[in-house]
């Protein structure tokens, strides 16, 4: 219900005088929000910190961009193709990386993402090397072209709402509870009969599949992609957005991603030290507010309207 209202409010923004530039920026923020939510499933709900989540997003971008240029620009078919590729890779990678947890998981996922990055640089026939895929055409839906700007924005809002509803149901399902049990204590979860490995694997695949949706939208927004979308510093960025917004909340990462995009825009235009400021805010959040923006908002909310018991 809340999701529908928020999505509705977002959807009318272009019609109440929001500038085209703001809409483009917001589209980017909402796509990042999908990506950050997918990361939240892994990091916030399952407790697997990954430093290679750019792989899922970038792979989705490359698959969708390649398909749209070579075969058809139909949005649903392109998305389907990108998802098949992303899920196939996630099934394979997830099967091996879910053997480990903690730091080993973080570093292995980083290594694997760098493998994809290097492949994107080296496999010039398909990826066009360091130049990246350029000139990806606009998507079509039921034969009608989705134009850049408002139409692509609305498509993003609808997709985000669908992902939100899906993931909300997922984390409240028994499967979601199982993931949270694994996050809390892997050994104890195993002791009560949870198949830890299988559930981590499923969480990994779902997380990648959702990130692939974001990647598909992004390749259409930017009309292309470069190997830098797979670089490990991008993985760091999405981790920053998610933690900044608030782990394990789903709506936190959405706030985190949107504020990331707008803060970056503000900082880079007003003064040069955007990385310095953002790094500082991030360190303070990790040190002092482990629950992120969502946690701060919740705390303020509760102090304004205390729950009487």
């Amino acid at each position: 219900m809340t999701i529908a209202v928020v999505a509705g409010l977002l959807a009318i923004l272009p019609f109440v005088g929001a500038a085209p530039f703001t809409i483009t920026l917001l589209t980017e923020g909402l796509i990042f929000a999908i990506w950050a939510m997918s990361l939240d499933i892994l990091v916030g709900y399952t407790g697997l910190v990954t430093f290679g989540h750019a792989a899922a997003f970038g792979l989705g971008s490359y698959a969708a961009g390649f398909f749209a240029r070579e075969v058809t620009t139909d949005f649903f078919v392109t998305l389907l193709f990108a998802e098949v590729v992303v899920i196939a890779v996630a099934v394979t990678i997830g099967f091996v990386v879910t053997r480990v947890s903690g730091i080993a998981f973080a570093i292995i996922s980083l290594c694997i993402a760098q493998v994809l990055f290097q492949i994107a640089v080296a496999w010039r026939d398909v990826t066009e090397g360091m130049d990246g895929l350029v000139g990806v055409p606009l998507p079509k839906m039921f034969g009608v072209t989705i134009n850049a700007g408002t139409e692509l924005y609305l498509l993003t809002v609808v997709t985000l709402a669908a992902v939100c509803i899906g993931l909300r149901r997922l984390v409240e399902s028994p499967f979601g509870r199982t993931l949270q049990a694994i996050r809390t204590n892997e050994d104890r979860a195993a002791a009560v009969g949870i198949n830890v490995r299988l559930n981590k694997w499923l969480a990994f695949i779902i997380s990648w599949a959702v990130a692939g949706v974001g990647g598909t939208l992004m390749v259409f927004l930017k009309a292309g992609t470069t190997p830098m979308s797979l670089h490990w510093t991008e993985s760091g960025n999405v981790l920053v957005m998610t933690i900044f917004g608030g782990l394990g909340t789903l709506f936190g990462p959405v706030i985190g991603a949107i504020s990331f995009v707008f803060l970056r825009d503000e900082f880079t235009t007003r003064f040069e030290a955007w990385q310095l400021a953002f790094g500082f805010v991030f360190v303070v959040v990790v040190l002092a507010f482990p629950t992120g923006l969502a946690g701060i908002i919740a705390r303020v909310w509760r102090s304004l309207w205390p729950v009487r018991s």
Partner: protein
């Protein structure tokens, strides 16, 4: 044949150089279980400290090279006290997140103060020339940097193996609780080691400046290569890191000479597979899992 020879030589030189950054990374993890993602940024800071020393203070290359780590160590100690010490009781993964944020800050501060440009420094006066090795012209400064790196790394091993401080470092690495019970000040020791590791990284950044040039993102690749080396050797295992550093450096320079970009993809794949099946490192017993 000549091409192959030069690739091997480059690999060995880079391996010696990588020792400086890998040892610090490994030490800090072994001692305090801190995964330091700011190591690359501290390396870059060393390069800029050299520039400050040479262009700002007008010092010669060698005094500036000594000065660079001395400028970076206090910064590192401050970082350890303010940001890493308070989270040492939280899961290790938090150290990775905090240091990642700190590397953002350091790189941002560098860009703010010095801009995003690349600074090329010529090697110091008598070492600008090349030397003839089996018919190949090779820059003298690279050989010199490799030898200096080896000496400094040997010094690190000497300190750890033969001094009272080294004894304490080994004790805490083995069993922090027991070491503390026996009166070792682990808190102080971790600060010291973090500072020294950052000093080593900064020294590497300054020493490598005439070879690799100085720019704000110069630490990114070094951080990854050092991590690969340290993981191959087993995180926290110093002797393993030495082997790891040379394996990574040789694989990059020999592979990079023949099959270009694919070699690095293979290298990462090998490390990932190695870590999955031997989470404690390929060449020794580390402490990841």
């Amino acid at each position: 044949m000549n091409f192959f020879f030069v690739s091997v030589l480059n690999g060995v030189v880079y391996g010696c150089f990588l020792l400086l950054t890998s040892l610090g990374l490994s030490l800090v993890f072994g001692l305090g279980r801190v995964v330091n993602f700011a190591h690359g940024a501290l390396y870059a800071l060393g390069g800029y400290a050299l520039i400050v020393g040479m262009h700002g203070a007008g010092a010669g290359y060698w005094p500036a090279l000594i000065l660079a780590p001395l400028l970076v160590v206090p910064v590192a100690i401050l970082i350890e006290r303010v940001a890493i010490f308070p989270i040492r009781h939280r899961p290790e993964i938090y150290t990775l997140l905090v240091t990642f944020g700190i590397s953002f800050m350091i790189v941002g501060a560098i860009e703010y103060a010095f801009g995003t440009g690349t600074t090329l420094l010529p090697p110091p006066a008598p070492f600008v020339t090349t030397v003839d090795i089996f018919g190949n012209q090779y820059p003298v400064y690279r050989l010199l940097a490799a030898v200096v790196s080896l000496f400094v790394s040997a010094g690190v091993f000497a300190v750890i193996l033969f001094t009272p401080v080294g004894l304490r470092i080994r004790a805490v690495t083995d069993d922090p609780g027991m070491a503390e019970a026996l009166g070792v000040n682990t808190k102080w020791l971790l600060t010291l080691v973090f500072g020294c590791a950052a000093g080593l990284a900064a020294f590497a950044g300054a020493l490598g400046a005439p070879i690799f040039a100085v720019h704000p993102e110069m630490g990114t690749n070094i951080l990854l290569d050092s991590f690969l080396a340290v993981i191959l050797g087993g995180l926290g295992n110093l002797a393993g890191s030495v082997i790891g550093a040379f394996v990574v450096a040789l694989a990059k320079s020999i592979g990079g000479g023949y099959v270009t970009d694919w070699s690095i993809a293979v290298l990462f794949l090998v490390v990932a597979i190695a870590l999955i099946f031997r989470p404690t490192g390929v060449f020794g017993r580390g402490r990841v899992a």
